[in-house]
């Protein structure tokens, strides 16, 4: 069970101050696909199509792509002929591309290899698809593990595409998804689950959509194929785009690390939870993830010592990143800015533990100043704005409303322009616990809102802009926490740690 956290407590404690109610100045995050990109605003699809993913052209030795080849391996459950045939069609689309059916809600896709500027993508032929009996995937993988290893040895990244009849919206057949994730993660192989979920008169999942597309030629697939490719690319360790984590457009100050923290209960072990952290660097690149040893918690509240250990481990992990070492190696920089996000509130003991960890780290890395911003997030829909001057009354993405001295509503999702018709979205509520205090990197609410928008723009799981509500730190940590609640975790030191294996 993933932590619901004490969000209710934070909600109950929220105070609105009428004199503070005002629109906060924000700047829309700039997603960079290339260092020479001239356009201010590019959607992920046009950015990748025009420039390729960011790491394919980057000259920075730490950001540039470390692979040029991907090898796909396709798995399907025995006896599921519809899954098999949909997978066959899907692989054809991934290899040869797709022409949009309509101009409005569809988009072209030139094939995975072309769009993502890869030298080689091996898409298996239907005869190479591997079938497995449900519950026996482990054995099948053992029989084929040499295939994966030879792929690694040949310089490719192997990715397992697993078809099945489970879908995230339904509990039925959930064990299929869990089995696939558990088996491949334990073998350090990134996997992508694609579902075929059929109901009486309709269906869900990409494979179902593909089948329908081939049967009726009426189901637009462009966005779904882009999303799948983006997920596969992220799981191989690619960086499709970056967002520079500037605190404000007016200064050169950056947030060096953003850290998101979530908790999950350990199944069948009452009272014990795991803490999960996701670390993003100053470009929004994933620096790593960290899961604690089992913690005995009362009410999802870390003790001072637990917080000290947890934050110390996170900071050590963040600072041990190759690129980070280059920049912050002993005495090279004088200041580090860190933003820490969590749902619900930061308890006093946790803050004390964090301070202790920061002091220890400060001595070790020899920097004179470590600034930290503590940001509590409320994701439950509570307050919403309506724009009377908008024909649909929708509030534009990026709008922020300050509701008290250190809290604001922020629209991390929503229409990009005022006239765009899009379904209503709720803002998140962000509260900077130590706004404008000593050692806080954030001095104004505008800086806090910009930071949240910057981190939320790193939604590498979808090409649809402004569609993920939570900052990437918390969104990713939530995925890791969900998998951990099913007992799925990375091995220590796994290479997957710097990939989006959890998507």
């Amino acid at each position: 069970m993933v932590e619901v956290d004490n969000e209710v407590l934070l909600l109950n404690n929220l105070k609105i101050e009428l004199p503070a109610l005002s629109i906060v100045e924000t700047a829309r995050p700039k997603q960079l696909f290339n260092d020479k990109q001239v356009e201010e605003r590019l959607s992920p699809i046009s950015g990748i199509h025009e420039y390729g993913p960011y790491d394919s052209t980057s000259t920075d030795q730490y950001l540039k792509r470390s692979f040029d080849e991907i090898e796909l391996f396709v798995f399907y459950p025995q006896g599921e002929s519809k899954v098999f045939s949909s997978l066959k069609y899907l692989m054809e689309l991934m290899e040869y591309g797709y022409n949009r059916l309509t101009s409005r809600i569809d988009v072209d896709f030139d094939g995975f290899k072309q769009e993502f500027r890869l030298k080689r993508v091996h898409v298996p032929d239907r005869s190479e698809f591997i079938s497995y009996k449900l519950g026996e995937l482990d054995r099948v993988i053992q029989d084929h593990k040499e295939l994966f290893y030879s792929s690694f040895r040949g310089g490719s990244i192997p990715i397992a595409i697993v078809g099945g009849t489970s879908h995230r919206s339904f509990y039925q057949n959930r064990e299929q998804y869990i089995e696939a994730k558990r088996v491949f993660t334990s073998m350090d192989i990134p996997s992508q689950y694609v579902s075929y979920y059929e109901i009486e008169d309709s269906g869900f999942g990409l494979l179902w959509q593909v089948q329908r597309y081939y049967n009726t030629k009426s189901n637009p697939l462009g966005f779904a194929l882009w999303n799948l490719s983006l997920n596969i690319y992220g799981k191989a360790g690619g960086i499709p785009w970056i967002v520079r984590q500037n605190i404000s457009p007016k200064t050169n100050e950056v947030i060096d690390f953003s850290i998101g923290i979530r908790f999950s209960r350990i199944p069948n072990q009452r009272g014990y939870v795991l803490g999960h952290a996701v670390i993003l660097d100053r470009f929004g690149k994933l620096s790593g993830t960290l899961t604690t040893r089992p913690l005995r918690l009362m009410g999802m509240k870390l003790s001072k010592y637990q917080a000290f250990r947890f934050f110390q481990d996170i900071l050590i992990k963040a600072l041990s990143d190759e690129r980070v070492r280059e920049i912050y190696g002993k005495g090279k920089r004088e200041k580090i800015n860190i933003a820490i996000h969590r749902l619900s509130t930061f308890h006093l003991e946790e803050i004390e533990g964090l301070k202790q960890a920061l002091n220890k780290i400060r001595e070790e890395v020899n920097v004179s100043e470590v600034n930290y911003g503590l940001i509590s997030i409320i994701r439950s829909p509570l307050l919403a704005l309506f724009d009377e001057s908008n024909p649909y009354k929708n509030v534009v993405y990026g709008t922020a409303l300050q509701i008290n001295e250190n809290t604001a509503l922020i629209y991390t999702t929503g229409p990009l322009t005022q006239r765009a018709k899009r379904s209503m979205s709720y803002p998140i509520i962000a509260s900077c616990v130590n706004l404008a205090r000593r050692n806080s990197p954030f001095q104004t609410m505008s800086e806090v809102c910009n930071h949240i928008l910057n981190v939320a723009a790193l939604h590498w799981q979808t090409v649809i802009q402004a569609s993920v509500r939570l900052p990437a730190t918390l969104e990713f940590a939530q995925n890791i926490a969900k998998l951990a609640s099913y007992g799925i975790q990375l091995k220590t030191g796994s290479w997957l740690e710097k990939t989006l294996w959890f998507l």
């Binding site: 404690n13 109610l21 919403a384 649909y392 209503m424």
Partner: protein
């Protein structure tokens, strides 16, 4: 340029919640008779027009039906709830103060709001109130062969605003069958509800408005105080759109 934004809150326009007269019974939650559990006790007391909260060795109670505290039949209540007499004192509390708000204030206010909503819709056959302070309109906004979805407003989120209180209103949905029984199967519910929730803000407002106009004005009594809700959206008067935002809106 000024941008006119509205916020989905209804602010109390009645009495302030300072010096609210509350009865404190020296009793713990564990002392209640075995026939009650937390839910059934709350249902019973709200139906009697009484709000309650347990905190710090006391049961805090007050009438929410407009009666004065003195008119409560406390002895009868104690027998019914505890099967024994308890010592009683009268306290005057500031329900929105930091110490009182979480353990007592918000709980009593939710009970009071729930009672007020039940009383308000008693005469209306088209509305339905749930224990979680949700008010649904009994018309399917979309129906299929055997099931349909109804829309309602969730009024359970009470937030402090400048020493006063406001309720944050949210649209909510439920899935019912043809005989107006709640559909429990989550896969059917999720499917049905997800088909009606992808709407623009103006459609959202229209749905909310049709229910809110049947609820407002709403008088909520809590002991010696009367809370009044008249409007459900607040205009952000200070909403000056800065240059960067203007650029986005073009």
């Amino acid at each position: 340029m000024k941008q006119k934004l509205t916020l989905n809150i209804m602010v109390n326009e009645g009495d302030s919640l300072v010096n609210v007269k509350i009865l404190a019974l020296r009793a713990k939650r564990q002392e209640i008779r075995r026939k009650w559990n937390a839910k059934s006790l709350r249902n019973y007391l709200v139906n009697q027009g009484i709000a309650h909260a347990f905190h710090g060795n006391f049961m805090w109670i007050c009438p929410v039906d407009g009666r004065a505290v003195e008119n409560l039949d406390v002895n009868n209540l104690m027998q019914e709830v505890f099967g024994a007499s308890k010592s009683v004192v009268i306290r005057y509390l500031d329900l929105t103060s930091d110490e009182v708000w979480n353990p007592i204030g918000i709980i009593l206010l939710r009970d009071a709001l729930r009672y007020a909503l039940i009383s308000k819709v008693k005469s209306s056959s088209s509305l339905l109130v749930t224990p979680r302070c949700e008010v649904y309109e009994k018309n399917f906004i979309q129906a299929w062969r055997t099931i349909g979805v109804i829309a309602g407003v969730d009024l359970s989120r009470i937030v402090r605003i400048n020493g006063n209180i406001c309720v944050c209103i949210k649209l909510t949905y439920e899935c019912y069958d043809g005989l107006f029984r709640r559909v429990d199967d989550p896969s059917i519910r999720v499917r049905a509800i997800s088909r009606v929730t992808k709407i623009t803000s103006d459609e959202y407002l229209a749905r909310m408005s049709s229910i809110m106009q049947k609820i407002l004005p709403l008088n909520v009594f809590i002991s010696n105080k009367r809370i009044l809700f008249n409007k459900w959206n607040r205009i952000i008067e200070k909403g000056v759109v800065r240059e960067t935002l203007l650029r986005w809106l073009k």
